[in-house]
């Protein structure tokens, strides 16, 4: 898997973020356009492209969801940008409840004193869900069984919902606090 190779780290869902950080700076020192400012146009262009790739690899490797999607894609299970719906009524029901909870937070707004505790409660909930679906990924992605990959893909789909809620919460927080 190209990104792991680029950073010279083992192909593994569980990564050492600190190691990635160190490797990133080493790579940047070698490839960054500022290091090639005296070079030919070709070399400068190459430096921009290489650095963009390094930056993209970093974003992918660093982010649990993007990392999982990337690994799945490399295994031949492409779920980025897919329109497929989840066939899990329980999960979807839970999602709807969480969405309603979010709407309540938005509606009660900064006027209410307990918006902070509502946000904290919501964050805890999201964290639990995140843990539930992420914890299995290491094992599933290390497996050579294609069924495990499909199971991992399902977990990732669920995680996408969870991350969307996270983003939504952040947006609401921005709105509340920017008033």
């Amino acid at each position: 898997m190209r990104y792991f190779e680029l950073f010279s780290i083992p192909v593994n869902y569980d990564v050492d973020l600190q190691e990635i950080g160190v490797r990133y700076l080493e790579l940047q020192r070698a490839a960054h356009p500022d290091r090639h400012s005296g070079g030919s146009e070709r070399e400068k262009l190459l430096a921009v492209q290489k650095t963009a790739e390094i930056n993209d690899a970093l974003q992918t490797l660093k982010h649990p969801l993007k990392r999982a999607e990337y690994m799945l894609a490399e295994l031949g299970v492409e779920i980025r940008g897919e329109q497929q719906t989840l066939q899990d009524p329980m999960f979807l029901m839970q999602q709807m409840e969480l969405r309603e909870e979010l709407e309540d937070i938005r509606a009660c707004g900064s006027a209410s004193g307990d918006v902070d505790s509502a946000i904290a409660r919501f964050e805890r909930h999201i964290k639990e869900l995140d843990g539930e679906y992420s914890n299995e990924l290491q094992g599933l992605l290390a497996s050579s069984d294609e069924n495990d990959w499909q199971k991992a893909a399902d977990n990732v789909r669920k995680l996408k919902f969870v991350y969307k809620l996270k983003d939504e919460l952040e947006r609401i927080e921005d709105e509340l606090f920017d008033e």
Binding site: D34, R42, A47, K50, N55, D174
Partner: protein
């Protein structure tokens, strides 16, 4: 100080020719130019010893003057004396009127590009900025004994959008300056501060200038300046604090509409009053207009009260930037204050309270940005090959495309490290659709109307297919200057469209060339001769760069490859010496470029491999 010239084996032993590079802080109120001489960065002064050049251009019948001489006529010749034009860069007339209210200028818009009416004709903010840059270039070249400068690092507010960055680069081109890099002002300040203090860890740079506000959160680590997040407001600065006082003066003197002269007088008095309040608790302002004299008293408390909403606005940006960086306030080691407006006591007090630490005000807030830019410029032209400084900056505002229903789909989120390339696939929504319109936007809001429109272009010639069958891949590329280019391609057919994103209301490349030409003929310089010279310099630069690369890495090429490259280089040199047509040299340079592409790729791979095996110089 270099005591001894030591050369590594295989490297050229010729001493490095010192190239003249400068850092330019093109400010809203004042501009500066700095350079590194004998290892020390310093700002360059005019004949009177002033480092700061007021960013003011006054247009006379034929000529123009820049700086103090122009500023002196701000009140008696307001229409022809352009002040704070940086605030107008990359903006439309409607935006300016909405942001700044009454201004003593007559704006006009022609083909979407903004002009200000003066006695010398319509002047664009890009032109006026170019005139300021030109004055700084002349100052630098004079101090170098008439030698021309190789290039400049020009600073821009971190929160400048793509249109504003492009305008700045255009202005530099008009002034005949080669831009080595557009550098974000807070990053430049961090470089100057970091190298000087040797501090490592997370710092915040709070930069409140004359017309713009930036907050950047950076991690300093062994020569690497990594911007974690940036935020701000490109239309909030000292001028807006002055405007609050102008309103107060109007209220106290019972005046409603002001003539251009009186408005400029009020603005000047407001500015002086604000500055005086830094040292005095109370200031009495005398306002003489329409044959009457009014006295208005302003206390520091009153000013603080007026200013508080603006200061709070900056703190909201600080909070968001910290959040984006994933940093808590207690992890911030130092808050570096930059920009003349951070002298206001209310600003220092509130920022100190927000970060729960005394902000650092011991560095000169006016000069630190130009100094940082000069340090980077010195490295970029190759004067300091052993320097291991590296600046990693971010995109300040998200980039996206318009989708159905007037919504914006983000392609690259804000605070992504640049350079960056991102692609996204779109499809057709009608059967037989053969063209697709693309609308590129910048901003954080969800609706198209709330974001900055950067460009519109279309991909034509898509073969008719069923709705949803075409795969259009749109790629956004942001380079190290933070400038965007976009390509779109239909995957099955390879139909392609490409634009260098130029703001719809900015200048086209043709316009820049045209303006350059007309300014040349005014100066009685020969355009052709200048272009020829430029290409000769470029050919020499390419040759030297390749010679240096070959000296260390020629083993990466086989004999045949080496011979082909050598041949192209020799032809380029011959052409450079003999040709009178600049295009011919340009073509020869491009041939060398093509011939060296494989070599460049192998060198890049080799250097990355070397970086990862940890063969750093200090370990060997």
């Amino acid at each position: 100080m270099a005591l001894l010239q030591i050369a590594e084996p295989g490297q050229s032993t010729a001493p490095h020719e010192h190239k003249l590079a400068v850092g330019i802080d093109l400010g809203t109120t004042n501009s500066l130019v700095a350079t590194v001489q004998s290892g020390e960065a310093k700002t360059l002064t005019d004949e009177q010893g002033n480092a700061m050049l007021p960013s003011v251009v006054r247009y006379l019948e034929q000529d123009h003057v820049v700086g103090q001489e122009a500023a002196a006529h701000a009140a008696d010749d307001p229409h022809n004396t352009l002040i704070s034009v940086k605030r107008f860069l990359g903006k439309t007339q409607a935006e300016i009127e909405a942001s700044y209210g009454q201004l003593p200028y007559e704006f006009s818009e022609d083909n979407g590009s903004l002009h200000i009416r003066t006695r010398q004709g319509d002047i664009s903010p890009v032109q006026a900025s170019g005139d300021i840059l030109n004055a700084l270039r002349e100052r630098a070249e004079q101090s170098f004994g008439g030698d021309t400068i190789t290039g400049a690092v020009i600073t821009v507010p971190a929160y400048f959008d793509d249109a504003q960055r492009h305008s700045t680069k255009d202005a530099a081109q008009l002034a005949g300056i080669k831009v080595l890099r557009l550098l974000n002002e807070p990053t430049a300040a961090a470089v100057a501060y970091g190298l000087d203090s040797g501090q490592e860890g997370v710092i915040a740079v709070y930069d409140l200038g004359g017309g713009t506000f930036d907050i950047s959160i950076l991690r300093l680590n062994k020569g690497v300046f990594e911007v974690l997040a940036t935020g701000g407001d490109s239309a909030l600065g000292g001028d807006d604090f002055d405007a609050l006082l102008v309103e107060y003066f109007k209220q106290q003197t019972g005046t409603h509409s002001l003539s251009a002269n009186t408005l400029r007088l009020f603005i000047n008095k407001a500015k002086a009053c604000k500055e005086a309040l830094t040292n005095y608790a109370k200031v009495n302002v005398g306002l003489e207009f329409d044959g009457q004299t009014h006295m208005v008293e302003v206390t520091r408390e009153l000013f603080a009260e007026l200013a508080m909403p603006l200061v709070k606005k900056t703190l909201r940006s600080c909070r968001r930037a910290l959040k984006d960086a994933g940093i808590n306030t207690d992890e911030v080691l130092e808050v570096v204050m930059v920009g003349g407006s951070t002298r206001m006591p209310i600003v220092r007090e509130q920022v100190g309270e927000f970060f729960a630490k005394e902000p650092l005000t011991s560095i000169d807030p006016d000069r630190v940005v130009a100094i940082g830019a000069a340090i980077q410029a010195d490295i970029l032209v190759g004067n300091k090959p052993e320097a291991d400084m590296l600046l990693l900056d971010v995109l300040p505002l998200s980039l996206g495309l318009e989708t159905m229903g007037g919504l914006v789909e983000k392609i690259i989120p804000r605070n992504t490290t640049i350079p960056v390339a991102r692609a996204q696939e779109f499809t057709t929504f009608k059967d037989g659709q053969t063209a697709m319109a693309l609308h590129v936007l910048q901003g954080e809001r969800e609706l198209v109307d709330d974001c900055r429109s950067l460009a519109k272009f279309s991909l034509k010639g898509i073969p008719p297919m069923a709705a949803g069958a075409a795969h259009i891949r749109v790629t956004f590329n942001v380079d190290a200057d933070g400038l965007l280019s976009v390509t779109a391609m239909e995957k099955s057919t390879g139909v392609q469209a490409e634009i260098q994103v130029k703001p719809s209301f900015g200048l086209s490349d043709d316009q820049v060339a045209e303006m350059l030409k007309s300014s040349m003929s005014n100066a009685k310089e020969d355009m052709q001769a200048r272009m020829l010279k430029e290409q000769q310099v470029e050919a020499l630069r390419v040759h030297e760069a390749l010679e240096a690369s070959l000296a260390t890495d020629s083993h990466l090429l086989d004999e045949q490859e080496l011979a082909t490259l050598r041949d192209a280089m020799a032809q380029m040199q011959a052409m450079s010496a003999s040709a009178t047509d600049p295009q011919k040299i340009k073509d020869a340079i491009e041939k060398v470029d093509a011939a060296s592409s494989e070599f460049a790729a192998r060198r890049m791979d080799a250097s990355i491999k070397k970086a990862l095996t940890g063969q750093s110089v200090d370990e060997v």
